[in-house]
């Protein structure tokens, strides 16, 4: 049994922190994509024609019920052969955003369903155009109450970004792996990565709980 080596830990820290930056970047961009796409799906669920509703439903269910890792491989290997070449990070962000958009779609749907019917009726009574009903009446109320739920999915995404290491993105896990491969010491870098995840995710989840209490109806 070997003991913990602090000087080695210090030595790998800069690389790990650089990896953390990539991890945070992927999470941030992925969340933006998931928020936007999720809203598109949620609105498509309410489309007037079933020719839109059903295919969107099917795609969303499929993406949600299959592993993100395999989806990432699919995007990583198949997109270039279709003539679309992106950086691994861009592919990863797209995969992450697409996967989580199927979760945020349900969150938005619940938020929209939660808007009291009186709001719809009032908007109709004022004969507001449909666009304005959504943008000025329904969505502001729907989104406000789902912010904590969306925040929880950001945390979940953050914890899933290590999967991007499998498609060669230099995130925290990949950096730890490379450091380990170089020195044959995996214990320190991987332990530090695991702890960093807890150190960031736990306070953020407390924040979301507090937000939930404040915004709670």
């Amino acid at each position: 049994m070997r003991t913990w080596d602090w000087s080695y830990t210090g030595h790998v820290m800069p690389d790990l922190l650089r990896g953390l930056l990539v991890t945070v970047e992927a999470t941030a961009l992925g969340s933006l994509l998931a928020f936007a796409l999720g809203l598109v799906w949620a609105l498509a669920f309410r489309a007037p024609t079933r020719w839109v509703r059903w295919p969107v439903r099917a795609v969303v269910e499929f993406v949600r019920n299959t592993p993100l890792l395999v989806q990432l491989f699919f995007l990583f290997y198949v997109l270039p052969s279709a003539g679309l070449t992106f950086s691994p990070l861009a592919t990863g962000v797209f995969g992450l955003g697409l996967h989580y958009s199927t979760y945020t779609a349900e969150v938005y749907r619940a938020g929209i369903d939660g808007v009291p019917p009186g709001q719809w009726e009032a908007a109709t009574a004022l004969s507001l155009p449909r666009r304005r009903v959504w943008i000025a009446v329904i969505l502001p109320q729907a989104i406000r109450r789902v912010v904590p739920a969306l925040g929880n999915y950001v945390i979940a995404m953050f914890k899933d970004t290590p999967m991007l290491a499998a498609i060669t993105v230099l995130d925290m896990l990949k950096q730890a792996e490379e450091a380990g491969a170089e020195s044959f010491r995996y214990t320190e870098p991987i332990t530090v990565v695991g702890l960093l995840f807890v150190l960031i995710a736990y306070p953020t989840s407390l924040l979301m709980r507090a937000l939930e209490r404040r915004l709670g109806t």
Binding site: P67, L68, Q71, F73, F74, Y77, M163, T187, V193, S205
Partner: protein
């Protein structure tokens, strides 16, 4: 793709199913243990369980898997890849599951617990015969979601070199060079397994609800509103607690009349 390669994928699928079952069993055990511990009367038990849950919910399952596989051996233990994968999945999804167990137990009306105390049930009887049977049906739908998440999580085990579905797909991709085909096939395979899990759990939910005399789920559209009195006597009638005695107690939650009747009947029993 040749038949040999299909066979490889099917063998991978079988290992994925095995991995899912093993880690689901472990996760369920951990979930109940930690979920009950978090409701314990002793603060130290609650605290330890809380640290476990927050830690494993806070870290990434993939990092945990790497840690169990690469870092643990250097501290003195070597785990086979399959067990490292099972342990990592079981422990992290068990932490999520413990929140489900805790939430469902806390959602049982407090009168049930009070009634069990009044009937001088031991704490174990109270949990096993009154609280858990009523909490279980509430746990099934969120557990179904968690099981699908667990199935998706097994793909992570491929990074440890476990020959499950995602790993077999890598091998096939290297053999044929046609990544679109093989990944499309295994995505469909995962989807089919997830679909089977969802359906099976829905069946389980109906049976669990029926066993405590509750309506078999919201079948379609919005849940129908049922007046409070209409359901509770049914719960009382079929609750499995000591024959008719708890029946009176349970119904008592709804209407004071039956509560009194049940109370006296039980009082005689206990004395």
């Amino acid at each position: 793709m040749t038949t040999g390669l299909y066979e490889l994928l099917l063998r991978g699928l079988w290992l994925t199913v095995q991995l899912t079952v093993f880690s689901a069993v472990l996760a369920a055990a951990v979930a109940f243990l930690a979920g009950l511990a978090r409701l314990s009367r002793r603060w130290i038990v609650r605290f330890v369980a809380g640290v476990y849950v927050e830690f494993f919910r806070g870290t990434s399952a993939l990092v945990l898997m790497f840690w169990l596989f690469f870092a643990l051996p250097l501290l003195g233990w070597q785990l086979a890849a399959l067990w490292a994968g099972t342990l990592a999945l079981g422990l992290s999804y068990g932490a999520y599951g413990s929140e489900i167990v805790r939430g469902a137990l806390r959602a049982v009306p407090p009168a049930q617990r009070e009634a069990a105390i009044a009937l001088s049930f031991t704490p174990a009887q109270r949990m096993l015969r009154v609280l858990l049977p009523q909490a279980l049906p509430e746990m099934v739908p969120p557990f179904a979601n968690l099981l699908v998440e667990l199935l998706k999580g097994t793909a992570l085990a491929s990074v440890l070199g476990i020959g499950e579905l995602a790993f077999s797909a890598q091998l096939v991709r290297l053999a044929t060079g046609d990544s679109a085909q093989v990944y499309a096939i295994i995505l469909v395979m995962y989807f089919v397994v997830a679909f089977v899990i969802t359906r099976a759990m829905r069946l389980l939910e109906r049976r669990a609800k029926a066993s405590v005399g509750r309506a078999p789920g919201r079948s379609r559209g919005r849940p129908t509103r049922v007046p409070p009195g209409a359901i509770d006597p049914a719960v009382g009638a079929t609750a499995t607690v000591g024959g008719g005695t708890a029946g009176g107690g349970t119904a008592g939650g709804a209407s004071p009349g039956t509560a009194a009747a049940g109370g006296t009947a039980t009082g005689g029993d206990v004395a």
